[in-house]
Symmetry: C2
Subunit: 266 residues, 2 copies
Amino acid sequence: MRYGRVSVDGEPRWARMDDEVVHLLAGSPLDGDPAVESSRPITEAAFLPPVVPFVFYAVGLNYRGHIDHARATGREVAVPERPEVGYRANNALIGHGEAIRVPPDMTGRFEAEGEVVAVVGRRVRNASRAEAQESVFGWTIGNDVSAREWQHADRTFWRSKNSDTFKPMGPWITTDVDPMAQTTTVRVNGEVGAKFPTGDMVFDPWDFIVEASRYITFFPGDVLWMGADSNCQIAPGDTVEVEVTGIGVLSNPVRRDNREPERSPE
Amino acid sequence: MRYGRVSVDGEPRWARMDDEVVHLLAGSPLDGDPAVESSRPITEAAFLPPVVPFVFYAVGLNYRGHIDHARATGREVAVPERPEVGYRANNALIGHGEAIRVPPDMTGRFEAEGEVVAVVGRRVRNASRAEAQESVFGWTIGNDVSAREWQHADRTFWRSKNSDTFKPMGPWITTDVDPMAQTTTVRVNGEVGAKFPTGDMVFDPWDFIVEASRYITFFPGDVLWMGADSNCQIAPGDTVEVEVTGIGVLSNPVRRDNREPERSPE
């Protein structure tokens, strides 16, 4: 099953999604099995981020290719010895189809990272591995857009990774897929810029939930972004797609921030 | 005016608070001026965190005394040149009176930091200084409980600062106070462990909102914890109070995590 959220008359609505139809639901599928209220063609849907998390977890340096890439730039990077979560911020979330906006004063590399995302479905603390697996409602796709000069220069990831629009997520949550058996592909204007086995992780999603839940309660709707193997540079005028097989394709155009006059892409 | 949230029959309710009475409200004061539905003695109130933020911002190294203290421990610490926000996580929030729980495997210094907290009342982006000032609904108190060995050993602040119960906030939001003209005092079992002028900040709250809002939209209910000048060590059996004059007193007992059998405090 696929579940997501769409904007209907300016209000967020949960929906079940087929290939061609969006079925608007009476409530959240995280709370049970809500009835279908009405349906419409998916081509008319305005996608929202599939959930707004209570806590927005993200994992860094969780693919060996990413670690090798970071080392190639001269940084000293150790392979993480334990699964440690980090954080992103809700203001940065946008849905499938919405525009990633490049701040007018950003310089340096601007990059997309395609990630599989675990969506938590139930409250869990001190989880066993089996409980961690049962706690995941489904899987979606994230694009961890990053401004590299700011990432290296600033004390935190505040604007490098959490500027408005820097966290596309969607298009929906797929409940019946094995994320470890998939392939992640990032395309820029249709050309493949990164492709890697989704399951080539240093630690898998359940490792993180087991370890973090020794100290932290996870809540329904929390998301855990699992990191990426490699990056693709993006620029205004581009369209960036992240595909995770078995889930779908998250596509977003890249635009200059609308605080500046719109110009034709170079 | 003072506004906060209390638990009534297991449900969170907004309330306006006097010295002796809690007036339950029909809605959120962030959305308007809700009517009073009923009242009860404040001694019967179970306080919740006054808001659950959309984004939970926190500031590090924002008092010169804190920077001097960090340097005294041998760390190289530069005075921040720009107001850069960091983040904390909602799972860690507890209200006034709730217990801070010490994880059974925590070792090393366990410390309280008393902070004044700005609560955002309206959506703001690209704020002028005047707009930043108008965007703040009111002020509350936070205790940035920190496990120092984990803070220095881990790659992120995940369990050092975001373990469950590590972020007491409250008891309420005060709308009519100048946070820069107050005094912050932290008491452990009634003894003063830290005392400093609340306004002795490197950057003030509006500096942070002006700078961050160049890239980030703030939303109603977002909180911005402003940092602390100095710390106090705490341990199971203690009661820790943070007072910010003009706002109130945030008090929380410290207990061993209830995953271990309860023992009498040493």
